[in-house]
Symmetry: C6
Subunit: 234 residues, 6 copies
Amino acid sequence: MQRIASGIDGLDQILFGGFPKGRSILVAGEPGTGKTTLCLHYLYHGLQQGESALFVSIDEKPEYVLSDALSLGWNLDPFLESGHLHIMDITQHFGRLGAQEPIDMSHVIDAIMAKIKSTHATRVVIDPIAPLVFGDTQMHQVVSYIRALIFALEDSGDVTTLLTSYVPVGTERVSIMGAEEFATSGIILLRLEQLHQRYVRTLRVKKMRGTRMDLSAHHIEIMAKRGIVVRNPL
Amino acid sequence: MQRIASGIDGLDQILFGGFPKGRSILVAGEPGTGKTTLCLHYLYHGLQQGESALFVSIDEKPEYVLSDALSLGWNLDPFLESGHLHIMDITQHFGRLGAQEPIDMSHVIDAIMAKIKSTHATRVVIDPIAPLVFGDTQMHQVVSYIRALIFALEDSGDVTTLLTSYVPVGTERVSIMGAEEFATSGIILLRLEQLHQRYVRTLRVKKMRGTRMDLSAHHIEIMAKRGIVVRNPL
Amino acid sequence: MQRIASGIDGLDQILFGGFPKGRSILVAGEPGTGKTTLCLHYLYHGLQQGESALFVSIDEKPEYVLSDALSLGWNLDPFLESGHLHIMDITQHFGRLGAQEPIDMSHVIDAIMAKIKSTHATRVVIDPIAPLVFGDTQMHQVVSYIRALIFALEDSGDVTTLLTSYVPVGTERVSIMGAEEFATSGIILLRLEQLHQRYVRTLRVKKMRGTRMDLSAHHIEIMAKRGIVVRNPL
Amino acid sequence: MQRIASGIDGLDQILFGGFPKGRSILVAGEPGTGKTTLCLHYLYHGLQQGESALFVSIDEKPEYVLSDALSLGWNLDPFLESGHLHIMDITQHFGRLGAQEPIDMSHVIDAIMAKIKSTHATRVVIDPIAPLVFGDTQMHQVVSYIRALIFALEDSGDVTTLLTSYVPVGTERVSIMGAEEFATSGIILLRLEQLHQRYVRTLRVKKMRGTRMDLSAHHIEIMAKRGIVVRNPL
Amino acid sequence: MQRIASGIDGLDQILFGGFPKGRSILVAGEPGTGKTTLCLHYLYHGLQQGESALFVSIDEKPEYVLSDALSLGWNLDPFLESGHLHIMDITQHFGRLGAQEPIDMSHVIDAIMAKIKSTHATRVVIDPIAPLVFGDTQMHQVVSYIRALIFALEDSGDVTTLLTSYVPVGTERVSIMGAEEFATSGIILLRLEQLHQRYVRTLRVKKMRGTRMDLSAHHIEIMAKRGIVVRNPL
Amino acid sequence: MQRIASGIDGLDQILFGGFPKGRSILVAGEPGTGKTTLCLHYLYHGLQQGESALFVSIDEKPEYVLSDALSLGWNLDPFLESGHLHIMDITQHFGRLGAQEPIDMSHVIDAIMAKIKSTHATRVVIDPIAPLVFGDTQMHQVVSYIRALIFALEDSGDVTTLLTSYVPVGTERVSIMGAEEFATSGIILLRLEQLHQRYVRTLRVKKMRGTRMDLSAHHIEIMAKRGIVVRNPL
C-alpha cells in the first residue's frame, strides 16, 4: 500500500507512514477543535512538495480560508498564483435564501470532480461534507450521496481526500447525520477534553483501513508556522 | 488580521487582541447567563469610541433594551439621540397571532442589511438569532438561512456581528437548532456552573477562526457600570 | 427600574427589591414543587396592599383555587367580594371532548387582555402557560404565540405577570415546549431535590432581565399562613 | 377541606389525613410496583365503611381483578352481591383487532360517568388511564381528553378517583404521555429501588393540591390481608 | 389461585409455587440472555408431565428450535411424534420480501388460537411477540393487538403462555414497543450484568399479578440437561 | 450440532468449537473496531482448508478489499484465480446519485443467493448488512428484509454467514436499525474500550444459539499475518 504523508509528524507516525493513498478520510470534531487547521496543514505540506491541491470551501469564503491560513503563518498566495492551489467556492450553492427545493447534489459533485480533473489535484479537502448531503432527510439517500461522492473520489485516480464532519456539540457522535463515518476509509477525531480543570486538544485515529495504527489519543497543539503539533499520548 | 476590541478586558486577552474584524460570532448560553449583557458591553464600548452600532432586537421591545442597559449603569440615550446607536425593532414580525405561514426570512434579512447600510454601523448585535430561522423545520433550509445571513453580513464590509443563540436548558448544546454554530466564525459559551454548592458564571471561547485563543473557561461577574468582568480561569 | 414586591421576603432579597415592574416571569417546576403556591402568595400580597389581581386558571376550577389558598391559610373570598380579585375560568376552552381543531389562541389571549383591562389588575397569574400554546406542534407558531402573549401583557401597561410552566418529570428542562423560557424576562425554578436521603424544596432564580440577582439555590418551605418561606442557600 | 381516608395508615399520615375529597389522584409506577394493589386497598377500605365503589378495568378482565384481590386476602364477592361494588369491564373497547380508527373517547367517558351516577360510587378507580387517551397522538388532544375526564369526575360531586398511569420501564417519568400528571390534583409514585443490592418497594407523594404532605420516600411492603403497609422513610 | 410449575426450581420458589395458571407472562431480555432457553425449559417440563405444548416460532425455523433444544440436552422428537408437542412455523408470514402492507395480525392470531384449540395445548410459547405487532406504528393499535392477543389467550381456557420480548441492546426497557409489558400479567427480566469485570446472567421477576414474589435479582446459569439453574440472589 | 472453525483460535475456544454451521452471525462494532478484519480472517481460514468463499462488498470496492487483506499479510489473489474466492461488487446498487426510490432489495438478495449457488461458497461475508435494508424506514419492513435474507441464507444449505453491522459511534447499540440483532443466530461485539487511559480492542460473544459460550469480554489484537489474536479476558 502506498502512503501519502500528512506532513504532521506525529500523525504520520501514528499511521505508520501517512494516509493510505487514494482513500478518503473523515476529520471529525466539534466546532473549534482544529479540523480546518489540520486540513490546511495537509494541503500546505503537499504544496511545498510541488503537489497540486484543491480546497473545496462550503462554510467560508475563499478569502477567509486564505486569511485563516495566514494567521497560522502559511502564505498560500504564491501557490494560488502558480496554479498549484485552487480554492473552489461553492458557498453560493448553499446560501440561497428561501430555497424551497434541496440542492441537486449530483450537479455539485460533478462540479467537484471536474475541478479535480482540470487541476490535477492529488490532495483534496472538502470542508465540510455535511451540507453536500443535508438536503435529503431520508437516510438511504444521505448514505447514497456520501457513497457516490466517495466512490467518485476514489475512482478519480491518485486523489487522497480529507472531508471534515460536523460533530454536534455535546454528543459522542463523529458526524451530524450518523452516516458519514461508514463510507470513508478512515476517521480522525479531534476533541477538546477537560483534564484537571484545563481544556486540552486531542487527536485520535478511530479507524484507518489498510494500515496498522496507534489507538491512543494524543495531546496536540496548534502553533503558528508549525500548525498541528502532536504531543505525548494521553 | 485586523482586530476589533470587545471592550471586555479579559476577553480581548483571551482572544489575543479582540474579535477578528468583519466576522460573525455566536454568543451562546442558557437563558440568564449574560448573553445580552455581553452584547450591550460590546456595543457600548464601540459607541464610546465614536463607532456606530445597531442592535437588532427580537425578543425584547427597544425600551426594555434601554432599561436593561441602564440597570447595568449604561445610559444609551445620548447615543440614540446623536444617531450613533440604532435599535431595530423587528419584534412585530415574530409576534403575529395565529400566523399560518412561516415568516419570509429573506425580507427580514434584507431589512437588516438595509439598516446596516443606512446607519453605517460597524458593530451589530442580533439578539437572538434563532427566531430568524425557526420558521423552517427542514434542516437544509435552516442551514441555508443562517449561511445566507452570515454571508450577507460578512459581505457588507466592515461589520463585526455578535449573534446570540438559545441554548435549551439542561443540554450540552450551543444552539437550539444544532446548526447555528457551523456558519459562524467563532463561538463564545456562557454558563452557570455549580461549583462547591455555589453557582458561578463562566465564559469560554470554543472556536475562533483566524486567531490564537485561550481555551480555558474563566469565571466572570456582571457588575454595575463595568458590565462583564473576566476573573481567573477555573 | 421600578420594582414590585413578591411579598416573599427572601425572594425579594434575592432579586434586590422584587420583580421588575411590567415584566413577565416564568415560574417553572415539576408538578408538586409549589408553583401555584408561589403565585397565590404573590397575588395575596398585592391584594393585602389594595392592588387588583387576576388569576387565570386553566388546569383547575376556580373553586379549587380558592380552597387551595384556604388550605394555605389565605381566605380570598373578601377580595373576590370587593372586586379586587378576579379568577378567570378558561378551563372550558381546554376540556372539550373530541375537539378536532386546535383552540384559536388569539381569542383566548384577547379574552385575557380584555379581562386585565376591565379589572385594572396589576398582578396577573396565568397558571399554567402551556395549554395556551399546546395546540400547535410547529415550533415557530408556539414561539409566536408566547411572544404575542408576552408582548400583549407588557404593552398593557402596569401589569406584572407570573406564568407557570410545566416541567416534565425526570428532565432538566424548564418548560414543556422548550420555548417558554425565551420570551419571558425572568425564570424562577422550583425543585424537589434529594439531599442526604431527604427531599427538600428549593428555589433558584435562573434569569431576571434588568436587575442584579443572587444565583444561589435556596431551601424553601411551604408553611400555613406564611406561604413560601425562603431559608438558607444550599 | 374534607378528607377521605385511603385506609393505608401510613399514607393517610403522609397526607395529614387522607386524600382531598372530590379530587383525582394519579398513582404512577412501572409495571409490578403495586399500583393496582394500592387502588384495591383504597376501594376495599371504603367498602368496609359502607361506601359504594367502582373499579373501571381496562387491562384486566373483571374475574382477574377479583382473583388478584383474593390473592391479597380480600374477598370482594360479598360487596359485588350487595351492590356496593361494581366492576366496569371496558376491556372490549380496547382489544378490537385491526381497528383502523381511534376509539371515540367521549363515548367511553360518558359511559364511565353514567356508571358513576347510577352506582352512587364515591370511590372510583380507573386502572389504567393511558388507553383512554392513547388513540390520539396529538398532544393537545391527549391533554384535552384527560382534562375533560378529570373535570367530569370532579364535577360529578362526591367522587374521589385514583387513576393509575403507565410509567415506561427505565425512565424517570411519571406517565406514558407526559401529560397525565398535569391535570390531576395529586401524584403518588410507586417504585422498585435498588438499595445495597436489594430491591425495595417505595412510595412517595410527589404532589397533592390543597394539603400539606410529607415529601419523603417511604419503604412499603405488600402483605396478605393487610395490603400496602407503609414502613419507615428511606 | 391455581399454579403451574415452570419446572425451574428456583423460579418456582421465587413465585411461591409457579406461574399463575391461565395467565400470560412476558419473558424480556436482550438477545443472548436466555429467553428461548427459559421457554423451552418450561415446555419441556410440562411435556415430561404428560401435558400438551405449543411453540409458536417466528424468528427461527422449527428445525433450529429442535436443534437448540438438543444442544441443551433435551430431545423433543419423541414428544413431536406422540403429538404432545407442536411447533407452529409462522415464519413465512414475516419473511416476505418487499411486502408493502403490514401483515393482517387478526389472521395470524386466529391461526394461533385455532392451533391451541386443536392441539389442546396447556403450555404455549410465543417467541417472540414483537413481530406480531410490528406492522403498526400507531401506538394505540399496537396496544390493541397485544391486548387482543392476551385476552384471546386468557379466554381460551387452561392455557398459560410465555411471550418473549425484544429488549433493544443498551436500553433499560423491557420491550421494543414500550407497550408489551402492560397487558401481560407478569414480567420476567433476563440480563447479562457486569460484576467485578465478569459478565453474569441474572433473572428477576418484575411483576406478577395475583401472587407474592421475591423481588431480588438472582444469578442464573444455563447448563446442559438442566437448562436454567437459579443460583443465589445478587 | 456441526461446527465450523472461525480460524481465530481464541474465538473458537470461546464458542466451544466454532460457529454453529449453517447459521448467520452478526459481527457488530463501531467503525475501526476490526469487523472487516475478523471477516477476512474467517474467509482466509476456510480458503486455506480448500473451502469456497464469497465476500459481498457494499462499502468498499473489491480492489480495496484485496489490498486491506494484503496489508494484513494475506494474499487473496491465488484464491481468486483458482476460483475458490469470489468478491461480489454490489457497490453500484448503492452509490446512485439522486435515486428517488429505495433500492429493490429482493433483486439484491436474489443476486446474492444466485451467486452463493453458482460459487458453491460455504463461507459468506456480507459487509455490511445495513445498506441492504436502509431503504425502508418502516420498521416492519426492515425486519421483514433481514428475516427474508437470513432465512434465504439458512435455507441455502451449507452456508455459514457473517454479517457486519454498523454501530453508531457513541451509543450502546449493536446495530444501526435496532433490528439486525434479532434474526441472526449469534452476535459478536467488537469494541474499543478505554482502560487506564489506553484504548484496547475487545471481543465479546453476546449471543450464540445452540451452543455454550464464554460470556467474558476478551482483549484482542490485530497483527500482521495473524489477523485477530485473542488475548486474556478483561
